[in-house]
């Protein structure tokens, strides 16, 4: 507790109205979800995909934004969740969507523990490279274990039952969309509580100065491992959602590209903030979808230009820069 108290003074976060901010966050998510449902009723598959990736980016934010561990291999946790949920359904006939999600959460947490044990041995660039090596190992392993995972053909035959026995997963993706929204809201509220807890503050402290945290008597590696497991559970939720909604798991879920895109989305939105993670995911996925549909030949260049522009003009990410701008305005008007 003393550690947490000490860090609060250094972080100078506004204490009052945190419950109000949570409520606003939940309302904003619901408003956006409703807007998406009304504006793009034919494109619910894309919106559900955005929800699943948003869970991955939130989980990446936990280790990168809150703990300062840079990783280019976070899709390993997401893919483990997706494959666990898929294998439960395709091989064991466990088709209840809640049980499948639990399976995804468990597998993600185990994968998180495994990654933490290996990743936390190094720092800086070697750590980044370890994460890359890990995601390739997961990818090759899933490719080799094709009797379980379907290899490069993907894992098919996932048939989730109706939610509560009433709402069938229909062709248009209505059920999957609402299921995803519900998962995201639950995870969001839990994570808001987590990052404000003494444990969340401890992790922020480790990011700022691990040596000082050790001098205070806390163990950085134990805290980081714990955070990695939680992050794995969140990423596994996203993986399970993607397996349930698309009813197929491809090797892409465990790819370096998926990991790199997740990191790009996080930095784009702004690290160290749950709102930033959500904003980055939404903006990047919609931008990518729009540009690749408008001009399939140039979309990669456009994405590249967007990234360079963000680094040059909004170095704290889009949400971070906007938040800093508004807080400056507010101080100026007082």
């Amino acid at each position: 507790m003393t550690v947490a108290m000490n860090n609060q003074t250094t972080l100078s976060r506004p204490r009052g109205g945190s419950f109000k901010r949570d409520l606003i966050g939940v309302i904003v998510i619901i408003v956006f979800a409703a807007l998406g449902y009304v504006l793009f009723p034919d494109n619910l598959a894309l919106l559900t995909r955005i929800l699943a990736v948003a869970l991955l980016v939130l989980s990446l934010d936990l280790v990168t934004g809150y703990c300062g561990v840079a990783t280019l291999g976070h899709a390993a946790l997401f893919g483990s969740g997706a494959y666990a949920a898929g294998i439960l359904s395709a091989h064991y006939g466990i088709n209840d969507p809640f049980l499948m999600t639990m399976g995804g959460i468990g597998a993600g947490a185990v994968a998180g523990l495994l990654c933490a044990v290996i990743m936390l041995r190094a720092h800086g660039l070697p750590q980044l490279v370890l994460s890359i090596a890990l995601i390739y190992l997961f990818h090759e392993f899933a490719n080799k274990a094709s009797s379980w995972t379907g290899g490069s053909d993907g894992l098919a035959g996932i048939m989730p039952d109706a939610v509560f026995g009433i709402y069938e997963f229909d062709l248009y993706g209505h059920t999957a969309y609402f299921f995803g929204i519900a998962l995201l809201l639950i995870v969001f509220v839990l994570l808001r509580i987590l990052v404000r807890s003494p444990f969340g503050m401890l992790c922020r402290g480790i990011k700022e100065d691990p040596l000082r945290i050790r001098a205070m008597g806390a163990s950085p590696n134990a805290a980081l491992t714990k955070m990695y497991v939680i992050s794995g559970a969140v990423a596994g939720t996203g993986g399970a959602l993607s397996a349930i909604s698309t009813q197929v798991v491809a090797l892409d879920a465990l790819s370096f590209t998926q990991s790199a895109e997740a990191l790009v989305m996080l930095v784009l939105g702004g690290t160290g903030s749950l709102f930033g993670a959500l904003a980055g995911t939404l903006i990047f996925m919609l931008f990518e979808d729009y540009v690749s549909a408008a001009n399939p030949f140039h979309w990669l260049t456009m994405v590249g230009v967007l990234l360079i522009a963000v680094v040059l003009f909004a170095p704290k990410g889009i949400y971070g820069t906007a938040a800093a701008y508004f807080s400056r305005r507010r101080e100026g008007s007082q």
Binding site: A122, V129, L130, I132, A133, Y136, F141, L300, L307, I308
Partner: protein, 287 residues
Amino acid sequence: MQTVFSIAIDALAYGMVLFVISIGLSVTMGLMRVVNLAHGAFAMIGGYIASYVARDLGMGYAVAVIAAVVITIIIAIPIERLLYRRIYGQPELTQVLMTIGITFCIIGIANYVMGPTLKTIPLAGPLQGTADLGFRTISIHRLFAIVCGLVVALGLWFAIEKTSFGVKLRASVDNAAMAAALGVRTEIVYAVSFAVAVGLAAFGGVVGAELLPVEPYYALRYMVTFLVVVSVGGAGSIPGALIACLVLGAVDTTGRYLMPEFGEFFFYLAVIAIICVFPRGFAGRAK
């Protein structure tokens, strides 16, 4: 025995090509502390230019190599001035974002200008065919790649250990602020070493085009390999990079020959094992 021999030659050639391309990255990362994911993109630009000069303009192989190196450096200079300058000293995440952005742009432009097909670089006459060693024949191009790697390693060793520029470079790597205070023009050292790094990348891209074929996604596909090699060797160290390239080249080639269905599994397993034992790379120093 024959298998062992051909694996050894291929591994050596592959390791040397990796070395030529990634040593520039190692120097810039050790010197400027920039995680430069766009390094492979410069190697790709070199390969494209050489292909254009040798195949479409019909010039010789030597002209193509020189043109590739010179033009790639000319392309890289404004990129360094306008974009890289902004990310020196920034957090790693920012650098990753910026250099991935540059890589995406270069891939998109290469795809538009040169088309999505694979480009070949016609070899000069003397480099085609095979050499007879009495008990085995080996491709001359493989020998050429190995010799190029050795020449680059020796040349860099001489430049860094024996010349006054090398002294300034080492001083800037160790402590840039102190070197500047002692009168070393660090910005010139930075600019020259960035140019040399890009030139070596282009050279390696051309020489290694037979092993790492030139196509638009080259930059993304091998970006990780180059970064891994540098990290395993220890950023900023020539012997470290050489050892890392030879070890990882050997592991990768052996894995592909004997168990091709495992793909890059053994390569990355070796990477994890090495980093767990040497957390700073083979020749990494404490900061």
